[in-house]
């Protein structure tokens, strides 16, 4: 008995056929992974299932009944809820206020309708209990970790008596430990008969949690399989539509002399961190979210104030007072949040590329149109950025191509110490491989890379050495030979 069945769904946007005759059906208690590259049509399909969009063609059958879902609220009332990638919670309100936001439970007092906070609190506690999570319902959302916020979202979905739950990249920002909690919750939901559609870019976890998998590509349904009938390589091939070859590049590793020395560094969030990075080396930094990895990057770049310790670059003291100093000396940060930190979205590809080193496109006091254009064209070609034009607005590019533009910006700034914070987050499998290959090219050109990542395989596949952080401290540095997932986890747990 299917709980939800969609057939022959078609959705066209001006100039794009987003979905073309897509079928999907799911049973109660089934965990279905939905995978595909960016632009494959996953989000559009989800938006149709939840009533955000109406399909141009095709049918939706819910609990054996053909119907339309006019808007998300109707979807929720029917029992179809989404836990969004970007969480939809109000930060300065408490958990219980968020859970019943927009549809408070009411009571009548002397003829007037008032909010029944007592009942809301009781129901909220019950909802969290159902998930077996220990959270104080009085806690404000901004005091919660991303993982905890996600649990609140899930509880909110449950409060609608959700029977089909769509999870849109729930794991993108979770650490492995938090992921375990999420998986336990998913298993409980599954046991309670909730059907779950699970979207993720991290293929490892799909094999951990899903019963079956549906692959979309270019708006078309490619295949639906029980999870045990496929494997990672095959899935990637379905997604990309071709054989991919090795995921991590192989190259002759040849790190030279140390160029960056970090000695007993202390800031508000990091404690006594020391390490050195060599020329031509990829130096990984592992750790759970909140372990101080991003803060370490910020301290090196001169964004956060240092309390003590020294940074030496090529023998010269390099405790930078601000970012502009660091950039001048050849440091570049490819930040975690590409859209909010890495790029000026309303500017063009061209304008973003020259941002960190405007000198390269200036002639005297003025920006030279020709230099500006030629510079951007050079990097678009060098990094194989897929864009129709250098004057294309950067927001219209895919995640992978946007990331390449951030990288181009630092190449143009002639950065030789590049700090990548989650370099492949939210990027397609195919584009990931390209980014990895670019990193190798940088290394071969004598640059040094510090790579912060929550994706263990990525660290193991790319890094010459991996430092592991826990609560602001550096717990140990593992060489490529000795590093394993277990050892990293062991150190990361403190």
């Amino acid at each position: 008995m299917k709980i939800l069945e969609v057939k022959d769904i078609r959705k066209e946007f001006p100039g794009v056929l987003a979905l073309d005759a897509v079928d999907l059906s799911i049973e109660p208690g089934e965990v279905r992974a939905l995978v595909g590259e960016n632009g494959a049509g996953k989000s559009t399909l989800i938006k149709i299932l939840t009533g955000v969009y109406q399909p141009d063609n095709g049918t939706i059958t819910y609990k054996g009944e053909k119907r339309t879902i006019a808007n998300p609220l109707e979807g929720q009332k029917l029992g179809i809820s989404v836990v969004h990638q970007e969480l939809n919670l109000i930060e300065h309100l408490t958990i219980y206020e968020n859970l019943f936001l927009g549809r408070p439970l009411m009571k009548k007092v002397a003829g007037a309708n008032l909010i029944d906070w007592k009942r809301i609190k009781k129901e909220s506690t019950a909802l969290l209990d159902r998930l077996n999570v220990r959270l104080d319902i009085n806690a404000k959302i901004h005091d919660l970790s991303v993982a905890q916020k996600q649990l609140v979202e899930i509880a909110k979905a449950l409060s609608f008596n959700c029977e089909v739950m769509v999870m849109d990249e729930p794991s993108a920002t979770l650490t492995d430990k938090e992921l375990e909690v999420l998986f336990t919750v998913i298993k409980d939901l599954k046991a309670a008969g909730v059907a779950i559609i699970y979207i993720s870019h991290r293929l490892e976890e799909i094999f951990n949690i899903a019963d079956s998998v549906t692959v979309l590509r270019d708006g078309k349904h490619i295949v639906t399989l029980p999870i045990h009938e496929t494997n990672r390589t095959k899935l990637i091939e379905y997604m990309v539509g071709r054989e991919l070859g090795a995921e991590y590049p192989n190259w002759k590793r040849n790190p030279e002399e140390p160029v960056l020395e970090v000695d007993h560094l202390e800031s508000a969030k990091i404690k006594d961190v020391s390490f050195s990075v060599r020329k031509g080396e990829i130096f990984g930094i592992a750790g759970l979210v909140g372990a101080g990895r991003t803060e370490l990057a910020r301290a090196i770049m001169g964004i956060d104030k240092l309390k003590s310790g020294t940074i030496t670059y090529r023998g010269k003291p390099s405790n930078f007072k601000d970012v502009s100093q660091a950039v001048k000396k050849g440091f570049g940060l490819v930040p975690e949040e590409r859209k909010s930190q890495g790029l000026v979205l309303q500017m063009t590809v061209r304008e973003n590329i020259s941002l960190a080193n405007i000198k390269t496109v200036e002639k005297g006091m003025f920006i030279s149109k020709k230099l500006d254009r030629d510079t951007s064209k050079k990097y678009i070609k060098l990094l194989r950025v897929e864009t129709p034009h250098h004057d294309q607005l950067i927001k219209n590019l895919s995640g992978g191509n946007q990331q390449k533009v951030v990288l181009a910006k630092w190449l143009n700034a002639d950065a030789s110490i590049l700090i990548f914070d989650e370099p492949t987050r939210g990027i397609d499998v195919g584009a990931k491989v390209e980014i990895y290959n670019l990193l190798v090219e940088l290394i071969k050109a004598g640059k040094s890379i510090i790579m912060i990542s929550s994706e263990m395989p990525e660290l193991l596949g790319m890094c010459d050495r991996i430092a592991v952080m826990h609560e602001g401290k550096l717990m140990g540095i593992l060489s490529k030979e000795e590093a394993t997932q277990e050892k990293i986890l062991h150190l990361a747990a403190g």
Partner: protein, 327 residues
């Protein structure tokens, strides 16, 4: 699908985006043309050389201020202290000429310096003290106007030397000097906005302050620059006004901030920062003065004029908000 069809489709998409950019960027141009046509039909005296020069001269002062406000808005802020700065810069210049007998050019420099200094204070409050731009410049708006009254006891400063009237009332050939000053300001502003790092960085900061910061841009420096430009141009406008009125009026420039902000926003400058064009601001300023001029010609009461100005501002912001949502 054959290659040809794909290609045709691509060209079609390009044409559509082109039309869309022209529409969104130069929407105001259409509005100005439409307004000119309407007024030409409604009023016999509208489309005469005399009236057109009159419109341009009247618009010049607000149009110059609008350029400064444009930079403040593009940097992600706003400057509502410009009207008061017009007054302060004007009376200090007038006083320095009348009471200290300074040469005219020195008086002008002092006036400009006063305006730029007010801008510097705004910039420091916004960039270094993180005071929301609206509140910071609301504060200076009150304080600066107050200071103007303190300095003058609210009496006009009169008895200016003769040579000063050239700036506000002189002509070069058939063209009034204020119009020439305005055009020079717009040309320079265009070059700064489109062809220098200062412009590029101010747009970047308004578009995404964090990304600009992490790219190594000294964001404080450029934000302060934006407010100094705003103050300096308000002062320039104040100097023209003194010359036109042949006295330093303590309440000069009252409500100018309103028209300047309206001009910038009507001209397509986005209040959320990072978006706008100098040409758009020019047309925005023209639109406002043509509108006001037209209402005078049609004998519409000044109370209605004020109402309409307010409505135009709100409509322009509505368009801006809708456009931002569309993306």
């Amino acid at each position: 699908m054959s290659e040809q069809i794909k290609k045709d489709k691509a060209i079609w998409v390009n044409v559509k985006t082109l039309v869309r950019t022209v529409n969104s960027k130069y929407f105001i141009l259409y509005a100005v043309i439409a307004l000119i046509i309407i007024l030409t039909i409604l009023s016999d005296s509208f489309l005469s050389l005399h009236n057109i020069i009159n419109i341009l001269r009247q618009s010049s002062m607000v149009a110059i201020i609008a350029v400064g406000v444009f930079f403040a808005i593009v940097s992600g802020g706003i400057d509502i202290s410009v009207g008061s700065t017009v007054g302060l810069a004007g009376v200090i210049m007038a006083k320095s000429l009348v009471e200290l007998n300074l040469p005219i050019f020195l008086g002008i420099i002092i006036g400009l310096a006063v305006g730029t200094f007010v801008g510097l204070i705004n910039g420091l409050l916004v960039a270094k003290r993180n005071i929301p731009p609206f509140v910071a410049t609301l504060g200076t708006m009150g304080a600066v106007r107050g200071l103007t009254y303190v300095l003058t006891n609210a009496y006009p400063v009169s008895g200016l030397p003769k040579g000063i009237d050239f700036i506000g009332r002189g002509y070069v050939g058939p063209i009034p000097v204020p119009i020439i000053i305005m055009l020079v300001v717009y040309v320079l502003a265009y070059i700064v906005a489109e062809h220098t790092r200062v412009g590029r960085f101010i747009f970047a900061i308004g578009g995404n302050e964090e990304a600009a910061h992490l790219s190594g841009i000294k964001i404080d420096k450029y934000r302060i620059f934006a407010y100094m430009t705003s103050g300096g141009l308000a002062a320039l406008s104040g100097i023209i006004l003194v010359s036109r009125l042949a006295s330093g009026q303590p309440n000069a420039g009252l409500n100018y901030e309103f028209e300047a902000i309206t001009s910038a926003v009507v001209g397509g400058t986005s209040l959320s920062g990072g978006k706008g064009t100098i040409l758009g601001v020019l047309f925005g300023a023209l639109f406002i003065s043509i509108l006001l001029n037209g209402m005078v010609l049609l004998n519409i009461s000044s109370y209605y004029q004020q109402m309409l100005k307010g409505i135009v501002l709100i409509l322009a912001v509505m368009v801006d908000v809708a456009r931002n949502k569309g993306h």
